[in-house]
């Protein structure tokens, strides 16, 4: 089995970094208020589990495309 090389914390940090850049114009207060007001952790957790299980079941493309996986999650968060 291929072990997914990212921990949840690393994945979440990547999502938040991209979200901060794309939707918050690097305004960290804005991002924190967003994450405080909505339960966005559950979406990031689901996204992480999905990426992890897909990779570990043989979808090697996922690793190469981690940024795309992260971006999908960021897009979803952005809609809120």
């Amino acid at each position: 089995m291929n072990k997914y090389p990212y921990s949840y914390e690393e994945y979440k940090a990547e999502v938040k970094k991209q979200y901060l850049k794309d939707y918050c114009k690097n305004n960290i207060n804005y991002m924190n208020s967003m994450f405080k007001s909505e339960n966005l952790d559950s979406i990031i957790k689901t996204s992480y589990s999905s990426s992890k299980s897909s990779y570990e079941s043989g979808d090697r493309e996922l690793l190469k495309n981690l940024s795309l996986e992260v971006r999908d999650t960021v897009a979803c968060l952005g809609m809120f």
């Binding site: 305004n27 804005y30 208020s33 967003m34 689901t46 999905s50 971006r71 897009a75 952005g78 809609m79």
Partner: protein, 240 residues
């Protein structure tokens, strides 16, 4: 409840004015019963408030938007501007190209004071959803609030690229059918080799938010349709 002492028309709806009630109070009572719990201020100056005043709408979570019905041109301008404020990595999912002014003229078109928009077609399809981005949380509408308003105004179905799946599921939409991304019909702004060829998922509104936000789960549990129209027809059969 006595008989009305008068009537006035708002958005094409005849609203009774009961004894001792001002026109504003009658309008507020009507809006509260139809759209939600809080309507702080409502203009009653015009019988047709398209292009006129904004109404406040507060969603179930307490988020408020100022929203009004709009004409096609104003709506399209708002949609284009709102789309341009979203990152290009996501903006391609916003459809501001497949509906003509003639199409929009049949729809309920809503724009917000902060520049977001949503439309509902006569058969309840929610289209052209876009929140304007400013980078300042306090100056932006919540996508969730806009969707709730669309549902209150007859929205009962939608389709979207899978990148928005988590959001729509959290708004109470359940996936019913789907089809693969077809490059032949790739939307403007989608970049081959950069953006993912995302499947299109069709939803119906049920209000159930306890569904996986992982689009792969939906794709696994629902049979794929061969093309967009087939997927749409399958969904439409499930929507009353």
């Amino acid at each position: 409840m006595g008989n009305p002492t008068g009537w006035f028309t708002m958005n094409g709806v005849h609203i009774p004015i009961m004894e001792g009630q001002s026109k504003a109070e009658a309008a507020k009572k009507y809006m509260n019963s139809k759209y939600g719990k809080t309507v702080a201020k409502l203009s009653t100056k015009s019988s047709n408030n398209k292009n006129k005043s904004y109404n406040k709408y507060t969603d179930a979570k307490g988020n408020t938007i100022d929203i009004k019905q709009s004409e096609p041109k104003e709506f399209k301008d708002t949609l284009d501007k709102a789309k341009s404020t979203n990152p290009s990595t996501d903006a391609w999912r916003v459809d501001n190209y497949s509906h003509t002014m003639a199409d929009y003229s049949k729809d309920k078109l809503f724009i917000t004071k902060r520049g977001s928009c949503v439309a509902v077609t006569p058969d309840g399809d929610i289209i052209s959803v876009c929140a304007k981005r400013t980078g300042d949380r306090n100056k932006e509408d919540r996508g969730r609030t806009i969707m709730e308003y669309a549902v209150k105004n007859g929205g009962k179905k939608l389709d979207s690229f899978s990148g928005n799946h988590g959001f729509y599921v959290k708004c109470g939409f359940e996936p019913v059918s789907w089809c693969k991304f077809d490059e032949q019909y790739a939307p403007p702004g989608w970049r081959k080799g950069i953006d993912k060829p995302e499947p299109i998922i069709f939803y119906k509104y049920t209000g159930n938010t306890n569904i996986s936000t992982d689009y792969k789960v939906a794709l696994k549990n629902i049979k794929m349709s061969n093309d967009y129209d087939t997927a749409m027809n399958i969904r439409d059969k499930e929507v009353k």
